[in-house]
């Protein structure tokens, strides 16, 4: 009887361990996924810019802030920005879902640490995010920053580099 109970207990523990491990794996996956971030348009930015609130994950607050900046530029290029009550949604500069794969080398370099993407992000909040904008999560921090993305400059750069199509191309 004891033996049966012991086997059942062992099986139960193994199953729950496997389940927890799978959950951790899923969390790690979503933690590392580039598509896992939230971004909202705050208001209509001044001409040629987008004013957004964007979240980023990182082991430290600084790394999370850098990730948030990357996410802001990534959203403008590949995902688009959602609208709100007074600002219409903004379509992505590269609406073709294959652009990232077909120009992988270009974007590896563009989004490298200290890469060209930084020229298109202006921080609009001073200092380290605090309060509800800085959350401790398992494995690091999740922070939100308010940034101004130089959308038109970014678009012109990608057009000049042959990544995005110009409105007047072909005419």
């Amino acid at each position: 009887m004891k033996k049966v109970l012991f086997i059942a207990f062992t099986l139960l523990m193994t199953a729950s361990a496997v389940s927890v491990s799978a959950q951790n794996k899923d969390r790690r996956k979503s933690f590392n996924s580039w598509d896992n971030y939230e971004i909202t348009t705050e208001k209509v930015g001044v001409d040629g810019t987008k004013f957004v609130k964007v979240w980023g994950y990182g082991r430290t607050v600084d790394k999370a802030v850098m990730a948030a900046k990357e996410n802001a530029v990534h959203a403008c290029i590949f995902r688009g920005l959602p609208g709100n009550a007074s600002a219409m949604s903004t379509p992505p500069i590269c609406p073709n879902p294959d652009t990232l794969v077909s120009h992988e080398d270009y974007f590896q370099n563009f989004f490298a640490a200290g890469g060209p993407y930084l020229a298109y992000v202006n921080m609009t909040t001073d200092g380290v995010p605090s309060g509800t904008d800085c959350r401790k999560v398992k494995g690091g921090y999740k922070v939100a920053i308010y940034v101004q993305v130089m959308y038109d400059n970014l678009k012109h750069k990608l057009e000049a580099d042959g990544i995005a199509r110009k409105l007047s191309s072909g005419f």
Partner: protein, 322 residues
Amino acid sequence: MKKSLIMAALLLACSVSGWSQAKKPTIMVVPSEAFCTRNGFTQQVTTTGAVSVAPDYARAMRENSDIRTLVSAMGDFMAKNDFPIQSLEQELKRLQTEDAELAMMTGKSGGEINETPLERLRRTAKADIILDLDYEIHRNGPRKQVSFNLQAIDAYSSKLISGNTGLSSDANVPMTTLLEECVLSFKDNFLSGLQHYFDDLFANGREVSVTLLCYDNCPIDFEEEFEINGEPYELAEIIEAWMADNTVEGRFTTAAKSANRLRFNQVRIPLYAQNMNGRDVAIDAEAFARPLIRMLKKKPYSLVVGSSPRGLGEVWITIGDK
């Protein structure tokens, strides 16, 4: 030798890219009819005895400074995208001056410029893409809010290319600030809609309309039968077969078919064709229809055929007279 070959290849590439520029559609911002009616910018127009109310664009542009602000802001971002828009205000002024000059113009021997009533009617402000603009100001005490509606319409197919509606923020600021905010709000969405339209144009050809009309002095109509390969076919059928052979992937719709009138819409034409010297050139609806006109002039049809373009995307072909 290698160097000269490379140079020749480069020159060829340059010349090919020079030929392969499609005709750029013209874009014009026009206040919507609803806006003109709401704000009293209307005029009575008498056409063939019938009186109707039409928008008075010249007065709207002259008396409403907000429209000018919106047009300037839109003109600015379109110019930044290498797509300058035509100014409705300037076009109307140009037509006025043209009218005055044509009335005064005489040749050295006293000859006057000929203009048929139809030519005069067609000499109006027009563009290939119309940006139909409407906005309304909502007041809530000292605070103002602007609701806007901008539609980009293909002037020939009357299809909506891009539609944008929205609200500005609710604030106690000058009207100009709210209007500029509106333009900045819809700008990128609007440009994306245009880009999508142009991408479709390059992939599937330009969408045009072709109308064939029969004058009453024409000896035949579109139901007249001709023998092709020993089989009798109606002229309308023969023209439909020509359309199927010459459109992009045979795409067209026969919208109207009768003894005296044939109308094809959703006609997808290639952007380029060879001209009489065998050179690739960008074409519009009239250039697309020229081979059909030549075919109808030849035997066994031997018809008198005229053509009349209505902008880049529509052509009227008349048989029996020019």
